[in-house]
């Protein structure tokens, strides 16, 4: 058990350290997320419409788009110098690689989300401070599902002929249910209602999170084979 966790944290630390040294992906993700918020702001002429109805959706679309960048990045950096083969040769359970990579994706997307929310709040004039703890919980749950299924599918897409282009195509249809639930829950939370009112949606996200974590845990090995 101990060795397993060491493996997981080894992969996690490696990915985060690599990212910290160049900060390429984080910058790109953060900037892209901001761009999406601004683009939507322009496209939907926020002065004229009630932003509250579209704000949760916009937030999660921004997360989904920038999240895919991060997911792609977490595997593209393994393609250089045979890093992926080295990783597979290490005395690690393949599922440990999955958990480690999922966690590193979770951290990176989480950081981008933490940057996006204040900007989103300011630009679209949606108050978030009063419901910050609830918003954080909802976001964490949703992002966990995204990271879980995203890491598994990013493994597939990075090994495919189409490379990065494939990931949105295979990820988004499967991501939709959690997206819908997250948007609904976020909407409930942003309008100041208590978390219990979003209970059904949160349960749904929780179930998906468990299923996707389980599937990723079991099948990542099949994705990584030589």
């Amino acid at each position: 058990m101990n060795a397993y966790l060491r493996g997981v944290f080894g992969v996690l630390r490696k990915d985060l350290r690599l990212e910290w040294r160049s900060r390429e992906a984080m910058t790109a993700m953060a900037f892209f997320s901001l761009l999406v918020v601004v683009l939507f702001g322009f496209s939907f002429q926020t002065e004229k419409i009630d932003v509250r109805t579209t704000a949760p959706g916009l937030l999660w679309v921004a997360f989904s788009f920038s999240g895919v960048l991060g997911l792609n990045r977490s595997f593209s950096l393994e393609r250089e110098n045979g890093a992926l083969r080295a990783l597979m040769l290490a005395p690690l359970d393949r599922s440990a690689i999955f958990v480690g990579k999922m966690l590193s994706n979770l951290v990176m997307i989480g950081l981008v989300e933490a940057l996006t929310v204040p900007l989103f709040s300011v630009l679209l004039r949606v108050p978030v401070l009063s419901c910050l703890p609830q918003l954080t919980l909802v976001t964490c749950l949703g992002t966990l599902g995204f990271a879980a299924v995203g890491t598994l599918l990013a493994g597939i897409s990075s090994g495919s002929r189409m490379r990065e282009v494939l990931l949105p195509l295979i990820l988004y249809p499967i991501w939709i249910p959690i997206l819908v639930a997250s948007v609904e829950a976020t909407g409930t939370v942003l309008s100041g209602k208590p978390l219990s009112e979003a209970g059904d949606w949160l349960t749904l996200i929780g179930v998906f999170d468990l299923v996707f974590l389980g599937v990723g845990f079991l099948f990542f090995e099949a994705v990584l084979e030589e």
């Binding site: 299924v149 597939i156 495919s160 494939l166 499967i174 249910p177 299923v211 099948f219 099949a222 084979e225």
Partner: protein, 228 residues
């Protein structure tokens, strides 16, 4: 009975059964009171929806089978089931709006059933994109199997959870056979269900046959190349 005999038998049965089904749906069964004749689409719309679910269930089982045994036969079945299931799902999404436009006045609504079916369709499409453009042979089968499993597991959860959590559009009682007022309607629906399922199996078996031939061709090509 040999497999090829069964296959042949189904080939011969499928089209006549469909023809009879259409006759039943358009000529025999009485029209529905409020919606009129367009409602007759129901007798095919529902069976094709059932078939697409069966298709995806087969994709799940075949994908698991492939990952467990690594035998190509499973992979051929998965691909065939995905293609035929996708076809059925497309038919559902085409016939549904035709009916909806006439019955509800709109082509589409984000109702529980419609949303689920659209998601199912997109997951199938993603699977087929991966198959078409995805990877070189060896990897492709593994990747497709994993995606097939992830996608297939996703769908029942969506199907049931949307039933539990989202308020249903009032007119959406497509799948409840208990709601049919006249015995002739129930009979027609059951008959068409069997006819469409037989059609589904016929197409599936054909597609599996094609898949096997393709695999054989690839193997021969590989051996020829190896000799040069």
């Amino acid at each position: 009975m040999r497999a090829s005999t069964i296959s042949r038998g189904l080939d011969l049965l499928a089209l006549p059964l469909i023809a009879i089904g259409m006759a039943l749906a358009f000529l025999y069964v009485p029209g529905e009171r409020t919606m009129g004749d367009v409602q007759r689409i129901f007798y095919f719309h529902v069976p094709f929806a059932m078939s697409s679910f069966v298709g995806f269930a087969i994709v799940l089982v075949a994908s698991l089978g492939y990952l467990k045994t690594r035998r190509d036969a499973w992979d051929v079945v998965a691909e065939a089931a995905a293609e035929v299931g996708f076809l059925c799902c497309t038919i559902v999404l085409l016939t549904g709006p035709v009916w909806a436009r006439s019955a509800w006045g709109v082509w589409w609504t984000w109702d529980a059933r419609l949303t689920t079916t659209l998601i199912l369709w997109m997951v199938y499409a993603a699977y087929l994109v991966l198959r078409a453009y995805g990877a070189e042979d060896a990897k492709l089968k593994r990747y497709a199997a994993v995606l097939g499993i992830v996608g297939a597991l996703n769908v029942p959860i969506v199907y049931f959870s949307v039933k539990w959590f989202r308020t249903q559009h009032p007119s959406s009682t497509f799948f409840t056979r208990e709601g049919l007022p006249v015995p002739a309607m129930a009979f027609t629906l059951r008959f068409c269900l069997i006819a469409v399922l037989i059609l589904f199996v016929t197409l599936l078996l054909k597609r599996i046959q094609v898949g096997r031939l393709e695999a054989e061709r690839d193997q021969l090509r590989y051996e020829l190349d190896a000799r040069e």
